[in-house]
């Protein structure tokens, strides 16, 4: 199978993730969309690695996964603590920093 098709899939996934971030308000969904974007880029990286026959892309993909995991830990903790205090997971409700 032509590896380029994986790139199309990656672009599609990234677009879905990006639009999700732009459109949705629920913090959890937003978070999932961000993850989707990260994974889309992972897919692209692995594909490129395959295309060029080097390992660089795969290594960066590993880094991405580690960062994504760390981000999930911190991010979910924040979301949970916001949910506890405000009883809502909508990102539009947290606007304390707005002047």
């Amino acid at each position: 199978m032509n590896p380029v098709n994986y790139l199309y899939l990656s672009a599609l996934l990234f677009t879905i993730g990006a639009s999700g971030v732009l459109i949705r308000r629920n913090a959890i969904v937003l978070f999932m969309c961000v993850e989707l974007m990260l994974n889309a880029s992972n897919l692209a990286l692995v594909t490129f690695s395959r295309l060029h026959g080097t390992l660089d892309g795969q290594i960066i993909a590993f880094f991405t996964m580690v960062v994504a995991a760390a981000e999930v830990v911190v991010g979910l903790a924040i979301i949970v603590s916001i949910f506890r205090t405000r009883h809502s997971a909508s990102v539009d409700d947290s606007n304390l920093m707005k002047l």
């Binding site: 971030v21 732009l22 937003l30 539009d92 707005k98």
Partner: protein
């Protein structure tokens, strides 16, 4: 022996420091300590004097270098002293009269709770004045010059609780500061010209300097002299200075400090001799002040202010004759010394009168006091005769010489100056007779004071009368002693130089003219105040009288010309500072604040919109990069 010179200054200075720092422990005997130190300084002066007399006329000037004061590259200011005949004369006058006035003050200030402080200030004054006259360079002289200004400030404002005294003190200091500015500019000019401001190099180099520069220095020195000696146009402070206790008026504002201007001009003879324009200015100032002071003295009802006008006028005489050059220097100093005696005596007498009259100062509320205060009357009377130039007394000899010198100036100028001086004699005799008649003769016009106590005039205690008697003796005999064989002239000649002028009038004619003018003044005064009753409430008087009562409108002039524009300028600048400069800065800050509060709206708090803008931004960047690459 020369090491005594610093001690002259140090003794009263130590007294001032002790009394100020010593605290209430010294309240009981501090005044005697101060008097003793003043007397000690007088003793040193006498010792130095006898030492000086033991040397030949050419070797009398001695110096003493104490330490290097401000050593900076090319700029050398030392604390070093010079004692020559001129300084010696002043040292003896200052310490002698000073000691007597200390003694007088023991009685006069007996009931003042801040007496210790008063004596500290008096000692401080003595130290500064001695420093002024024994300094060997202009910068050290300047220290004494401002030092006496400080002492004068402190003593005029001694009764600080009276707003008028505080204002008068401040006024005296600030007017004097204008003069001091002249002195400091003169010193700077000397430094530029000679690279030094010590007496020797300046006087030695004067002949090589340009006349224009010397005139500038001379005019600046004159400005300084005007400030300190209350000469027109800086005369306005002296009348108000009478707010100070009377011994202060006697010592500082009659006998010593106000004559410092005459000292300065005489000391700087080498400069003035080569700057005829500056000399003319000196003479004009002297002549104008002579008449100004005399006119003011005629109209004042306050006994001390009348005497202050007289002081101004007498110093005008000295300045005038000092401006004549070598013809006059010695006579200026001679009149200065005799004036020191009789004017100090007159002020002490006035103080004694006030002491007995519940501190009443208006002569219209005196009258007939001769029976109640015989010692005061006699001593005051002798002082009076001396000042009007009654033949045989001190003032007669010294004033006569001045008028002679004024005529000897020669030409039209000589006539104008001589006539001014003669008119001055008449007016002096007039106002002094008025003071005498209003105070000691006529009927009693006594008024109860503010608390309703009727005055009970009485003779003052011994501590007060003894100085008065001694000063009266000086007023009687000093002039004759000085004139004997021209002894004073011979004494001062090595320092000041002397030249005989050629007077168009014979000396005897001048003497007769002077005496006639004096008698005319006395007679006029007797007709006006002796023969008819004196009203308690001052009559309205002619416009000139009214103007003279207000010091010939000097304060009005200063107010209109300086104070009002000055405060307007200050107010404008305060406004400018807060609205202009600060307004600009705050306006800038406000503009930035305004712009940023507009920009702030972009931050709407919605994560989605931030994400969208990030997304848009990324797209833009990518698009730009691609476009750039394709071209």
């Amino acid at each position: 022996m020369n090491s005594l010179i610093p001690l002259l200054v140090a003794a009263p200075l130590a007294g001032a420091a002790l009394l100020l720092l010593g605290g209430p422990a010294l309240d009981r005997f501090g005044h005697w300590l101060a008097t003793a130190l003043a007397a000690l300084s007088f003793g040193f002066g006498l010792a130095l004097f006898s030492d000086m007399l033991g040397r030949g006329a050419e070797h009398r000037a001695v110096g003493q270098h104490l330490f290097s004061w401000i050593p900076v590259n090319g700029f050398q200011a030392d604390v070093s002293f010079r004692l020559d005949q001129l300084s010696m004369t002043f040292v003896l006058l200052i310490t002698g009269v000073g000691t007597l006035i200390h003694l007088y003050s023991v009685g006069y200030m007996a009931h003042d709770e801040r007496r210790r402080r008063f004596f500290a200030y008096l000692n401080l004054f003595l130290a500064a004045m001695l420093l002024l006259v024994v300094a060997d360079n202009y910068l050290l002289l300047y220290v004494g010059w401002e030092g006496v200004g400080l002492a004068s400030y402190l003593l005029i404002g001694f009764w600080q609780h009276k707003p008028s005294a505080a204002t008068a003190a401040k006024k005296a200091f600030i007017v004097n500061r204008v003069g001091d500015m002249g002195l400091s500019i003169a010193i700077m000019l000397m430094f530029v010209e000679f690279g030094s401001f010590a007496f020797d190099p300046v006087f030695g180099g004067a002949s090589r300097a340009s006349e224009g520069r010397l005139t500038a220095i001379g005019l600046m020195l004159l400005l300084a002299a005007c400030g300190k000696s209350a000469q027109v146009p800086l005369q306005s402070w002296l009348g108000d200075a009478m707010e100070g206790p009377t011994p202060v008026s006697a010592l500082i504002h009659a006998a010593t400090m106000v004559t410092a201007g005459v000292y300065l001009i005489t000391r700087s003879a080498a400069i003035f001799n080569l700057a005829p324009d500056a000399q003319t200015a000196v003479v004009v100032v002297g002549a104008v002040t002579l008449l100004f002071g005399a006119i003011v003295g005629c109209a004042k009802d306050d006994i001390k202010k009348a005497l202050a006008g007289s002081t101004m006028s007498q110093i005008g005489y000295m300045i005038l004759v000092a401006g004549l050059g070598p013809i006059g220097y010695a006579f200026a100093i001679m009149h200065l010394v005799t004036h020191g005696f009789f004017k100090a005596g007159l002020f002490l007498g006035a103080g004694s009168v006030m002491h007995g009259m519940n501190d009443e100062v208006s002569m219209r509320h005196y009258g007939g006091l001769r029976k109640y205060m015989p010692v005061t009357f006699v001593t005051f009377g002798l002082g009076y005769l001396a000042i009007i130039g009654f033949p045989g007394l001190s003032g007669f000899f010294s004033k006569d010489k001045i008028i002679e010198a004024a005529f000897a100036k020669g030409g039209t100028e000589g006539w104008i100056l001589g006539l001014c001086a003669l008119v001055g004699t008449t007016v002096t005799a007039f106002y002094m007779t008025r003071v005498m008649l209003l105070t000691f003769f006529g009927e009693k016009r006594w008024q109860p004071d503010a608390e309703g106590n009727a005055p009970h005039p009485h003779e003052s205690p011994k501590t007060m009368t003894i100085p008065m008697i001694l000063l009266a003796i000086g007023s009687v005999f000093a002039g004759g002693l000085f004139a004997l064989n021209d002894s004073f002239l011979t004494w001062l000649e090595p320092v000041t130089g002397h030249a005989e002028g050629n007077s168009p009038l014979a000396p005897l004619t001048v003497t007769l003219l002077t005496t006639a003018c004096m008698l005319a003044g006395v007679g006029l005064s007797y007709v006006m105040y002796g023969r008819s009753a004196v009203p308690v409430v001052p009559p309205v008087g002619s416009p000139l009288t009214r103007a003279a009562r207000r010091d010939l409108l000097q304060d009005e002039f200063n107010h209109a010309a300086l104070v009002r524009p000055g405060s307007a300028l200050t107010a404008t600048l305060v406004y400018f500072d807060s609205r202009g400069l600060d307004g600009f800065v705050n306006g800038l800050a406000a503009t930035i604040g305004g712009v940023s509060s507009r920009l702030r709206r972009v931050q709407n708090g919605f994560v989605r919109s931030y994400a969208l803008s990030m997304f848009g931004g990324t797209l833009l960047l990518v698009a730009t990069t691609l476009l750039m690459r394709s071209f």
